[in-house]
Structure formats: C-alpha cells, structure tokens
C-alpha cells in the first residue's frame, strides 16, 4: 500500500508541475504588459519600467516561473493588478461561497443518485426502471444554467420562496446564507445526479451478476440482505470514482451558475478579472482549481486502492 501511495504521489507531483507550467505559459504569451495595465494609460515610461523591475518582470522566464511556483506553495499568489491586494485574500473571500456551493451540490447529487440507482437496479426491466432511466437521459441533456433560470422563475419570481440571487454573506446568519445557495446547488446537482444514478445502477447490476451473489442467494439469504450487505459495497467503488471526477465538473459548473445567481464566488471573480485583464487572478484561480481536481482524484484513487487490494499492483 505504501509503495503504491508513493508511486501515485510522484505522478501527482509531476502532473501538478506540468499543469502549473501550462497555465504559466499560456498567460505568458498573452499580449499586454501588466505594469502598464496597473498604472493606467497616463503613466510615464520610467514609472512603468520601475514597476516592471519591482514586480520582477525583467527576470528570465524560468526564474519567474519558479518564484511564482514558490509563491503558490507558500500561499503567496501575488497581487491583483486592479485591486492591488494580495490575490490570496480575494480568493479566500470568494471561496467561502464557492466551496460550500460545490459541496452542497455534491451532497445533493449523491443523496439523490444513490437511492435512485438502487431503486432502478432492484426493479430492473420494469416500467419504473424504464421511467427512471428516461428521466436520467433527460437530466443529462438539460444545461444546468438553463435549469437554474427555470428554478429562479418558479421558486424565486413566482412563488417567492427563496431569493432570486445575491449572497447575504455568512455573517447574515447560517440559514439565510444557506437559503441563497440552495437553488444554485440544486441546479448544479441535477445533471450530475442523472449521470451518477446511471452509474450506480449499472455498477449494481454488474455486481449482481457475480458468483458470490448467486452463492449468497443460494444459501437462502433474503434478497434485501444480499443487495444491501453484499452487492452495494462493491458497487460503490466505481460510484466513488465517478464522484471524484464529478467534483471537477461541479467546480467548473459553479463558474457559470454563479453568474446566473449573482453569487460573489470564484466564478464571478474569474469573470471580473477577465474583463479587467487582471490575469494574475485568472491564473491563480485556474491553478487552484486544477490542483484541487488532481488532489481529489488522487485521494479517490487511494481510497479505491485501500478498498480493493487488487488495484495496488498496477
């Protein structure tokens, strides 16, 4: 197990390094001088030159990459070109919106998908199974931001049950803050729940075809016990993998959904930064999200290997 983990960690580190280099390189080839941007149109040439020197922009490419990377590791993401505050502060105040949103969506999609998948698998071939599968096909095809608009129209505009958008901040109290994240979380969770319930169903059906399930049945165990105690445990392994992959979809999904609900999260931050050409903010958020994806998938792999020793030998 340890050698497996170490090997995986090495791969993760290389992937992280390569991913950060790609982001750095992409932003490096963008036209425009950050120093000129920070000082505005009327700045003198020597002021720009001085700021370039101060920001370390005159140093060779490789040195700048490694000092940027070193900064990332120590939590210093640099300073925003437009706000002149540390990027990490901007990210931190947006993360308290985006992270709970993504986690809520992850929780909702799991809470919906696993029971639905089990229900569908246990009634395989019946009309209710066919109905659930048709509904999931539809769920996959619905763009989440459109579903979000519909939710706003029904629950916020027509029924006035929840706010249509905006975020009061956690200092306004736990429940008001949570209520303003509810519709966005549902909108994000729906398509993921559709995919996940299909995965749960087919994983469960795969397992139900195994010999040890037939043995359990043959020795007279009730179908329920076989399903819950024998089949489900093994079926959840592929479900876990998909869940890990979905985390990255959810994080990316928040970027668009936050725009529907005017939530001050990472997504809004990225879009504001893009319109203001504040590329260091874009760069930091992208690197942060990519690192999260890589690490979450690594943890899932590790959990997978821990649960199933056969996988460690790869």
């Amino acid at each position: 197990m340890l050698s497996y983990a170490l090997r995986r960690i090495a791969v993760v580190l290389i992937t992280l390094l390569a991913a950060s280099a790609i982001v750095f390189a992409v932003l490096e080839i963008v036209p425009g001088d950050p120093a000129r941007l920070m000082l505005g149109m009327n700045a003198g040439e020597d002021a720009i030159a001085a700021l370039r020197e101060q920001m370390g922009l005159n140093q060779p490419l490789l040195i700048r990459y490694f000092s940027w990377l070193g900064g990332l590791l120590s939590g210093d993401f640099g300073r925003s070109y437009t706000y002149s505050v540390p990027v990490i502060d901007l990210v931190r105040e947006r993360l308290v919106v985006s992270l709970p949103l993504a986690l809520m969506a992850l929780f909702l999609s799991t809470a919906i998908a696993i029971p639905v998948g089990i229900f569908s698998a246990s009634r395989r071939g019946t009309a209710s199974d066919a109905g659930v599968m048709a509904a999931t096909q539809l769920g996959i095809a619905i763009p989440n931001f459109w579903f979000a608009l519909l939710l706003v129209y029904v629950f916020a505009v027509t029924l006035r049950l929840v706010p249509a958008g905006g975020f009061p901040g956690w200092q306004a109290g736990f429940w008001p803050a949570l209520a303003s994240l509810l519709l966005p979380a549902i909108a994000l969770a729906l398509p993921q729940a559709a995919i996940l319930s299909r995965v749960t169903r087919s994983a469960l059906l795969d397992v139900m075809g195994e010999d040890y399930i037939r043995t359990a049945r043959a020795k007279g165990l009730p179908a329920n016990i076989v399903l819950w105690r024998h089949a489900l445990r093994n079926a959840l392994i592929p479900v876990l993998t998909i869940l890990g992959l979905q985390f990255s979809f959810l994080l990316a999904g928040t970027i668009i959904i936050e725009n529907v609900f005017y939530l001050p999260g990472l997504g809004r931050l990225v879009f504001q930064a893009i319109t203001q050409r504040d590329l260091i903010v874009v760069e930091s958020v992208v690197v942060l999200l990519v690192a999260t994806v890589i690490i979450v998938n690594f943890l899932v792999d590790l959990a997978y290997a821990w649960a199933d020793p056969r996988l460690r030998r790869r």
Binding site: A18, A19, A141, W146, L149, A252, I255, V282, L289
Partner: protein, 290 residues
C-alpha cells in the same frame, strides 16, 4: 476475392440495418438528430422572419399564430432565431469533434503501435489535460485570446483531443495482438500501413460512438460559453446567447428562456440517444446491461 468481400460487406450492412431498426434508442435519436440537422439546413433557404431585422413594435410577444415561439425584446421572431442558431451549435460542435479526431486518433494509433515511452508520455499528457475542468479552461482560453466563435471551437476542440486519443489507443491496443494484424506484420507491412488498412477500419465504430457523445457535449459547451458571453458574438443568433438575453426578461417574457433551452435539450437528448443506440447496434460486447 473482391466479390466475396463486397458480399460480406453487404451482409454486414443488412445485419446493421435490421438491428438498427429494432433499436428504439437508435431510432429515436436518429430521428431527432435528422430533424435538427434538417432545420439547420433549411434555415439557409428560408426562415419565417429575418433575424437581423428589429421590429420594436412587435417586442416581447408570447407565442401566437404569427410568431409560434413569440418574439424577443427587439421584436425578433424566436422561431427564426432558433433555426439560425442551430447552425451555430452544430458547426461549433462538429468542428470541435473534427479537431479531436484529426489530432487525437493519429496520436492514439501511434501510441498503440509504438508502445513503450511514446505511449507512456501520451497517456500522462492526456492525464494532465483531463485535470483541467474543460469548461474552466474554455473560459480561460476564450478570455485570453478574445471571445468569439473561432476561439470557442478551439477551446472545445482541444479537450476532445485526449478523449479521442484514448479511445483510439484502447481500441488499437486490443487489435494489435489479433491474428489478422499478425498476418499483416508477417507479410512485411509497416506499422503505419497496418494502422490505416487494418486498425482504423476496426476502430471506426468506437470512434463513431465517441464522436456522437462529444458532439452532444460540444453543443452544451458552446451554449455555456455563449451564455457567459465568450462564445458566439452578437448579432449572430446562438442558443446560449439567447438564454443570456432572456435572463433579465425572465419576469415579463419567460418564453424567451424556455424555447432556446428546449432546443438545446432536444438536440442533446437526440445525440445521446443516437450514441447509446449506435453503441448497442455496432458492438454488442459494449452493450450495457438492461
């Protein structure tokens, strides 16, 4: 010899059509997709109204006899915009799939033929691309290189490359140890020729199924990018763009949001059904349990 081969292909085709016409997923998907494509082609010849003409007097009409899907805040006919917008969605997704196939398939086939280091490097590189949430990266790419349809196509297409590389590699790896490939190698054919003559025809099915799936993902991605203003630019009608414009009109004209959304859903649903159906029809081994 030649005649026998043709006869065999003929038999395959009959087998295919017989299975296809009994597969409900395939039939429904093919029908929906055909209708969407037909509408897009038809829009070149005729639309009920001119989508570039603003008729402020007719603005924000609910669906009625003159405007089946209503009008938007500039008085444009929504049905006409949906028809013209379908070209955009199809073109973006199709070219993005084309990029994925044109670059990914040769890479995947090359890795499978070479094995060893080349294969390892390609797989790790695709891992790295997969670590970037596709939508986030598309946002980054279009933001940096400027919003617009060409950059949207490139952004979506880049993420199709590792997908097709993996599918092609997986399919090719399974074929290389087979007898007919061995026979070709024994007769002195080079790897490139074997790939073209023997590997590619046999992974075409896999690529077709994957292509359908990526096509539907591409439609969703284009809609998302246009919705946040980074994809298709006005005045060209686009389903995602229409949703963006509908957002502020939601309270007075909900049909502005509902209609383009339904267009996206129907198109994506059709392609997904077609993909599922194709998979069942073309390769029974891949069939999911029912």
């Amino acid at each position: 010899m030649e005649e026998e081969l043709i006869a065999l292909e003929h038999e395959d085709w009959r087998h295919f059509t017989r299975k296809a016409f009994t597969n409900r997923s395939f039939l429904a998907g093919a029908l929906i997709t055909a209708v969407v494509v037909a509408v897009a082609l038809f829009s070149f010849a005729w639309t009920p109204y001119d989508v570039t003409k603003l008729v402020i007097a007719d603005r924000l009409q609910s669906p009625n006899a003159a405007h089946w899907f209503g009008t938007d805040h500039f008085g444009r006919d929504i049905l006409s915009m949906i028809m013209v917008g379908s070209r955009n969605s199809i073109a973006v997704a199709l070219i993005a799939v084309g990029i994925g196939i044109a670059v990914g398939v040769p890479l995947g086939c090359w890795a499978a033929a070479k094995r060893g280091l080349a294969d390892e490097v390609l797989m790790r590189a695709s891992d790295i691309v997969f670590a970037f949430p596709a939508l986030l990266s598309a946002v980054m790419i279009t933001a940096i290189f400027g919003p617009g349809i060409v950059n949207a196509i490139i952004a979506i297409g880049i993420f199709n490359i590792p997908v097709f590389a993996r599918v092609a590699r997986g399919g090719a790896l399974a074929l290389w140890p087979r007898e007919f490939v061995l026979a070709a190698r024994a007769s002195g054919k080079r790897a490139g020729l074997i790939t073209v003559q023997h590997i590619l025809p046999n992974i075409a099915n896999l690529l077709l199924v994957q292509g359908t799936i990526q096509f539907s993902l591409g439609i969703l991605a284009e809609a998302g990018l246009s919705y946040v203003g980074l994809g298709t630019q006005p005045p060209a009608p686009s389903w995602g763009r229409m949703l963006f414009e509908a957002q502020t009109m939601m309270t007075i004209a909900p049909h502005m949001a509902i209609v383009p959304g339904l267009a996206i859903i129907v198109t994506v649903l059709g392609l997904n059904l077609l993909g599922d159906g194709l998979r069942d029809v073309l390769d029974p081994r891949l069939r999911r349990q029912r």
